[in-house]
């Protein structure tokens, strides 16, 4: 069965710190890896990664995928209290069994203190 493991499960940092979140995966016929941010309600899309070694950036957030070692990292630099959330990693396979299906990890709870 496909598996997604995120670490750490939670962390507390001070404003201005940099955080690195990890996501390792095992999936049959990998297609893509996605990162979401979940505050109170709906997860909101951050990044989709399909190719190794190509960094995706959006403001202070960036992410990269390593398809050989089967993991991805999400970096947040100069953290702000508004970055406090659960960050979810999900993978998608390319078999017909996994049509559209995202396999999620348990998430990393990030708390940024003032």
């Amino acid at each position: 069965e496909d598996k997604v493991v995120q670490s750490p499960l939670s962390l507390v940092v001070h404003e201005g710190d940099t955080v690195t979140l990890n996501c390792s995966y095992e999936v049959t016929n990998f297609r893509s890896l996605l990162w979401y941010k979940q505050e109170k309600k709906a997860p909101t899309f951050l990044f989709m990664l399909t190719s190794s070694g190509i960094e995706k950036k959006s403001g202070r957030l960036s992410s990269i995928l390593d398809k050989k070692e089967l993991f991805s990292i999400l970096n947040i630099t100069a953290t702000q209290t508004g970055d406090s959330a659960v960050y979810l990693c999900a993978v998608r396979g390319r078999t017909t069994d996994s049509w559209g299906k995202l396999q999620f990890g348990a998430g990393t709870q990030v708390v940024v203190t003032p």
Binding site: R31, L34, P43, W99
Partner: protein, 114 residues
Amino acid sequence: DTAVSQTPKYLVTQMGNDKSIKCEQNLGHDTMYWYKQDSKKFLKIMFSYNNKELIINETVPNRFSPKSPDKAHLNLHINSLELGDSAVYFCASSLKATGDYGYTFGSGTRLTVV
């Protein structure tokens, strides 16, 4: 305009009751999903419909029955509710089932069975 909307947002009901959750998307997407998020924050897929056709049906008790009257709507009916059904249920949609498309999530329905 809300892209994926679910109703109700909160639902408190007694064991043994039957209840429905409704979902509508105005994005013109072909594919819709139901996910369950338990108390440990794990998001797990339950069902997926592509153009009104069921394409993913995970191991879910048959007390749960999805219905898609058209591709913009996906409802979830739950019979004989049990305590373990308490969770947040998220509806989501994607442009298509195959291909590299992210999800847009609704804001969730918090179901509490007492």
